[in-house]
Symmetry: C2
Subunit: 213 residues, 2 copies
DNA sequence: GCCTTTTCTATCCATGCGGATAGTAATTGA
DNA sequence: TCAATTACTATCCGCATGGATAGAAAAGGC
């Protein structure tokens, strides 16, 4: 039945709330992948018990999907570039921040769990596919909006095609995530991000560009 | 002892040779990831037996590494862009081909197994890390060489910095692989590759550029 | 202060995993 | 043709996995 709303008793409280469980799971899934993260490890990293994982989430995969949903909600609300306000410079900074040193140890936004879903599963599970599609579509929409607006405001070179540029940025972002997973410890990710930054800044109209690369 | 060279008998022949085993393994690892590919599935897809996997390769991970080595050898020799001869147009075509429709069903070069190594493992295994480093370094070298040569030949805009551009291309390539894994069935990968193509062609000197974007 | 509800702990289970082993079938040099 | 060598088949093993279950423990309603 409807367990919320007319519950007679509130009963025992969970040790770990959903959000912090998601935070722990995100980190583990990112490091180990879906298959590589065992339910026992999830217990340790999230604070959840395998019992709770089963009863309130419905098992490992359902929990992963729920984590992914929560993560995407949060990413869209707080970490995706804002289509209303972002300038090209903001977009360039946004790329720079993704690979920033402060963020490197604890990755918690910008699509890493979506990246994980892509690499951990083949496309046989529609539940997973839907989330991936949601991620890519939403991100593409943001990029297109920002670039289109920049174009109408004449701060971008007119040859730049918003849809094509958006796809370029998506490739760049996914590639950046891959690099961040490939080279965790050193300064490489930043230099790669700088390449992306340079690309975006190169789009600016010559007038607005003092000297980029 | 040295089993080749002075073997007394040649004994029973393997049903499956190394190369076709590698080909099958490549496909399976790409679809399922390292952890997601079981040794039983490897038997079916490669034609190897679990016995052979154990005795001549030394187990699943060793076999993966051997596959990765063979694959990287082949990729460097045949599929990486040639630093001696590639023009910018060749480079653009090279990107276009990666996501081409003919290639999509059977991915067999251009770094997908390296991508796999990145996403399937954390960086705790030096054996894996070495291969990833080899892949990234070799690829970066190719890109830098091609762009540098184009620059000396004045067919590229002088503002383009070879090292930075190479990193951009690596991000793009890795992102393209991610997209190919994310959206397997449709025309998306091509359109993403076209974005990369457009970028490379945009580097050409205005003189050499009839009309790209 | 009990009752109900929910989570906790602690097992237990069946399954699939990577790997090991023993006996059989090929293959070739001597 | 026999001995040596290697791969094959078939089975077995210990282990880790995701999941299930049965009390015990918390926590608020009445």
């Amino acid at each position: 039945m409807d367990r919320k709303g007319k519950g007679k008793s509130v009963a025992r409280k969970r040790k770990t709330d959903h959000d912090s469980a998601v935070a722990g799971a995100l980190d583990l899934f990112w490091r180990q992948g879906y298959q590589g993260a065992s339910t026992r490890e999830l217990e340790q990293e999230t604070g959840l018990t395998r019992f709770t994982l089963q009863t309130t989430y419905g098992g490992k995969e359902k929990f992963f999907l729920k984590t992914l949903d929560t993560y995407l909600d949060n990413a869209e609300a707080r970490h995706f570039p804002d289509p209303e306000t972002f300038s090209l410079d903001d977009l360039a900074d946004w790329f720079r921040e993704i690979a920033s040193a402060e963020r490197m140890p604890k990755i918690e936004d910008a699509g890493c769990l979506a990246f994980n879903a892509i690499s951990s599963f083949d496309r046989s599970d529609p539940e997973v596919n839907d989330r991936i599609e949601r991620y890519l579509t939403a991100l593409e929409g943001r990029f297109v909006a920002i670039i289109s607006r920049a174009k109408t405001e004449k701060v971008i070179q007119s040859e730049v095609e918003p849809e094509e540029a958006a796809r370029l940025l998506i490739c760049l972002l996914l590639g950046l995530h891959t690099i961040m997973k490939a080279r965790t410890t050193d300064q490489f990710p930043q230099s790669y991000a700088e390449a992306a930054v340079g690309l975006v800044e190169g789009w600016k109209t010559p007038l607005a560009t003092p000297e980029s690369w």
